[in-house]
């Protein structure tokens, strides 16, 4: 995973709440077995509408998405994160997120920052006053600065550290392999395994 410290891009105002992952990427695009190539699938249904925000000139190459509350709820599909990334979205800022989505984003190097409702409104206002206006996201300082105002955002310390360092979760966990083996040795004998059992015994 690439290290992230600062990100800059146009503020993309997605003025909707409860954007579930079925809207971010419909299930029909989940049949693929690859991890890239989902840019056309992003918000597929809404993008049929020429007035949809991502169809507007300043936003067609991506940027920093500023969303309403409860973005990324619903299905666990990580394809939602891949589609955002493939389109060129480098960060998503909003007041509240679906937790599985937020977790998935952290694993894939997509910065998800929690901002206040006031900051959300302020960033939307900047974008609407001057479409294409940019925001500077500073992960170290946890600020998103636009229109001369620095808005604080929240991201948990651990995810922030991993993004700053570009660390791979699995490699981190495997440092604790001895602890995992020790835990396994103490698991109760009644715990089932998935190995086939003969019925009637």
């Amino acid at each position: 995973m690439e290290k992230i410290s600062t990100l800059t891009g146009p503020i993309i105002p997605l003025e909707r709440s409860n954007v579930d992952t079925d809207q971010i990427i419909p299930a029909v695009f989940l049949k693929r077995v690859t991890k890239t190539g989902y840019d056309d699938a992003l918000f597929h249904s809404w993008r049929q509408d020429p007035s949809f925000v991502l169809n507007q000139v300043p936003y067609r190459d991506g940027g920093i998405l500023v969303v309403g509350h409860d973005f990324g709820t619903g299905s666990s599909r990580e394809h939602a994160v891949w589609a955002l990334r493939d389109f060129g979205i480098t960060a998503v800022l909003g007041p509240r997120f679906g937790e599985i989505f937020r977790g998935n984003a952290g694993k894939q190097g997509l910065l998800v920052g929690q901002i206040s409702e006031e900051s959300m409104e302020a960033l939307w206002a900047v974008a609407k006053a001057s479409p294409g206006a940019t925001v500077d996201v500073d992960l170290e300082a946890r600020t998103a600065t636009a229109g001369g105002v620095a808005h604080d955002f929240q991201i948990d310390d651990y995810t922030r550290w991993r993004l700053l360092e570009g660390l791979d979760d699995i490699a981190l966990t495997l440092r604790d392999e001895d602890a995992i083996s020790a835990f396994e040795a103490k698991r109760p004998s009644w715990m089932p395994t998935t190995q086939p059992v003969s019925e009637g015994t």
Binding site: P26, R32, G68, D70, D156, F183, T194
Partner: protein, 473 residues
């Protein structure tokens, strides 16, 4: 101070306690795998030269892409077929047990774990599917995870997880006849909203929950994610123990005794404190239905489509306006006047024997309403066999319904079972998102009883309406 059920299960699975804000490393007892969220994870293992650590704690099945008719023929959609073939290939290469289409243990992944006796009280369960919360009905801690986490569990049998908050959902009192577990959970979500559970593990408690079967508890825990919760749980009790006893993989003999002794220690201590708490009076609940495009947009079936201007919060108001436009509904319309094109009984929420039996009891002796398509899709091959042994298939087909093979079917627009644009469906599934059941499709979430009554009358209806009609005759 005492601990909650969730805290006990968590504490017993901590491999490494996180320090300085780092998450705890949690051991995973059961990893359920399906075709949609696993191919990229298997690829990740291959690219990193890693193996799958515990194939003996992993089991795979095919459910999301699979057709529910002509299952003996090749899958027609080439991308779906490739995804299924990829799972079979990966399972063979990594040594994972798989229940493929046609196998008697095949089915929706959240039915497979419980019916095999792999889902047990006090275990941790994960799956690359948000409805993994279903397994919490047994007093297991069960999370839906993304594909990166699927790969992580495959490689390490653990997950780094942040601590959670606990919320007690107290459901007290007795449900009226015709009101079910589905109505309880739809009412809970309407009360706290789709984000109201963010950061929490729910524990469903109270006399109404205790009175439910395991299958009803699964329906409730299943939809915890629709309120934004990380997981939902019910403390194990005699109902739970009776259900899991003698299941194929459940402990036997001395192991059973040891397990039972442990399971009895799991319920929340009397002096434990929840971070948050809500209470619902079960005796006041009516059959419930959603009118909008998220599961929190619901109301009692006796009510009306709300007026968006009645919402105080501007974003809620805007969401309601958008939802009504998508659903093609006018404020003030009586919910019972809404006609449907399709009735779907199925999904990991409501496709078990209890659901099918309850629906069949209502449909028996009736014919479906003209012009309505009715699909009944058992959640697993085993449920299908049991239903046929009980003669339910005959009830459904006599009624005019289609009796299908097991799978996720019309819950999500991923297999051939989909709504056409503009089509309206009363569905026992879990999500009424825009396009969820097919592009342009409109979904009303309901219980199996409401689905059955709606299939008879052709408009959204509760079983109470059928009783009323009979009384009027």
């Amino acid at each position: 101070m005492g601990r909650t059920l969730a805290e006990k299960v968590w504490d017993d699975h901590v491999v490494v306690r996180g320090e300085d804000g780092a998450p705890d490393l949690i051991y995973i007892d059961l990893h359920l795998v399906h075709e949609v969220t696993s191919p990229q994870a298997f690829d990740g293992l291959r690219q990193a030269g890693r193996g799958l650590r515990r194939t003996d704690l992993t089991v795979a099945t095919e459910d999301h892409n699979t057709p529910t008719i002509d299952i003996d023929k090749p899958i027609q959609d080439p991308t779906s077929r490739k995804q299924i073939e990829t799972l079979r290939h990966n399972a063979a290469e990594f040594g994972v047990r798989i229940h493929s289409l046609g196998d008697k243990e095949q089915g929706i992944v959240h039915l497979v774990g419980p019916q095999l006796g792999l889902t047990l009280p006090g275990v941790t369960v994960v799956c690359g599917d948000s409805h993994t919360s279903t397994h919490g009905a047994f007093g297991a801690m069960a999370f839906g995870i993304g594909t990166s986490e699927v790969e992580h569990v495959m490689a390490t049998q653990t997950l780094p997880l942040k601590p959670f908050k606990t919320m007690a959902i107290n459901v007290e009192g007795e449900l009226r006849p015709g009101v079910t577990a589905k109505d309880i959970i739809l009412a809970v979500i309407a009360k706290i909203g789709t984000g109201g559970g963010a950061g929490y593990v729910f524990e469903y408690r109270g006399s109404a929950i205790r009175a439910l079967s395991i299958e009803g508890r699964m329906t409730i825990c299943n939809m915890s994610i629709e309120a934004g919760a990380r997981a939902g749980m019910v403390a194990p009790d005699e109902t739970t123990f009776a259900y899991v006893k003698d299941k194929p993989h459940a402990p036997k003999g001395a192991d059973w005794d040891a397990a039972l002794e442990y399971w009895r220690t799991l319920p929340t201590d009397d002096d434990a404190v929840f971070d948050n708490e809500i209470t619902i009076d079960a005796s006041e609940l009516e059959p419930f239905v959603t009118w909008g495009t998220n599961p929190g947009q619901g109301a009692s079936l006796s009510g009306e489509v709300p007026d968006p201007s009645s919402f105080a919060d501007p974003t809620d108001r805007a969401a309601a306006e958008r939802a009504l436009e998508y659903m093609d509904l006018a404020p003030g319309t009586r919910l019972k006047d809404i006609p449907v094109d399709t009735v779907f009984i199925g999904s990991c929420t409501n496709s078990r024997m209890e659901d099918l039996t309850a629906a069949a009891d209502i449909l028996r002796g009736h014919k479906k309403a003209d012009g309505v398509r009715v699909m009944v899709v058992p959640g697993s091959a085993r449920v299908r066999l049991e239903a046929e042994a009980a003669g339910l298939d005959k009830v459904f087909t006599d009624f005019g319904a289609e009796w299908r093979f097991a799978g996720c079917s019309m819950c999500l627009g991923m297999n051939p079972d989909q709504l056409a644009p503009g089509e309206r469906c009363a569905s026992t599934s879990n999500r009424n998102f825009e396009g969820r059941q097919g592009k342009g499709g409109r979904t009303h979430l309901v219980s199996p009883l409401v689905a059955a009554a709606t299939a008879i009358r052709g408009t959204l209806s509760s079983p109470w309406d059928l009783v009323r009609e009979q009384e009027e005759v």
